[in-house]
Symmetry: C2
DNA sequence: GGCTTGTTCTATTGAAAATAGAACTATAAA
DNA sequence: TTTATAGTTCTATTTTCAATAGAACAAGCC
């Protein structure tokens, strides 16, 4: 699993982390049943705080993407299959957004709006 | 133009405002050449600070969606036509996201990721 | 039993949002 | 050309939240 994090970004670290995991799941590089790195371990390798990683994990649990329990760690749930279904339609919309000169921010915000 | 704002949201007020305008543009309820409410006016009606509204407007200007100048106000540019092109494809993706039980947050984050 | 791993708690620091008020200037309209 | 409009710029304060830190705790696994 390849997760990058940009401390200089305006997006919160825990959000970046969660987004990174989601993206890896969508790409199929992280699949059902797979175990994510232990929070302390990932925190060390990314040189960030454990609590920040745990917050990202808890966010993913709330979404149903991982099963998170002490002693066991974070395991990707069946929910991950859903993400794969977007692997085609999502890049298509992104391409359209780019063609129209929309920023990533603008397009993401439109998604959020349309969700209500 | 109908803009709502939720002070309790984790999303910044100025981001919500900008998103609201973008959404109205996409829906065709705000069109090219149209003048947005004056910052002071909108601030009063939403019961938020003028600077917060101006920050949202400046964000939209940076995106090229409005022409913002003192004395004139905020006028929607040609760029708005691009948004209309998304009025179909975007709700389609949103529907798919909902069907897959993805949160608005997750889908928006995936958009952001795919944009890089 | 001992190791791993998340949970919970308190506390501190730093950055950014939001507010507030005032003075200023370009634009449009009367 | 005067006047009202409306964004720009400035300083300052308050508030919220991310991120860090450390410690004690509890569930699960070998």
């Amino acid at each position: 699993m390849l997760i990058r994090v940009d401390p200089a970004s305006s997006t919160a670290l825990f959000e970046q982390l969660a987004a990174g995991v989601r993206a890896e799941v969508m790409r199929g590089r992280v699949t059902v049943g797979q175990k994510l790195p232990a929070a302390r371990e990932l925190a060390t390798s990314l040189d960030i705080n454990v609590h920040t990683v745990l917050r990202a994990y808890q966010l993913l649990r709330d979404e149903g993407l991982i099963d998170l329990r002490r002693g066991r760690g974070a395991i990707v749930t069946d929910h991950a299959r859903n993400y794969a279904a977007l692997a085609e339609s999502l890049p298509r919309l992104v391409a359209e957004g780019k063609r129209l000169n929309l920023s990533a921010n603008a397009l993401a915000a439109l998604i959020r709006e349309a969700y209500l």
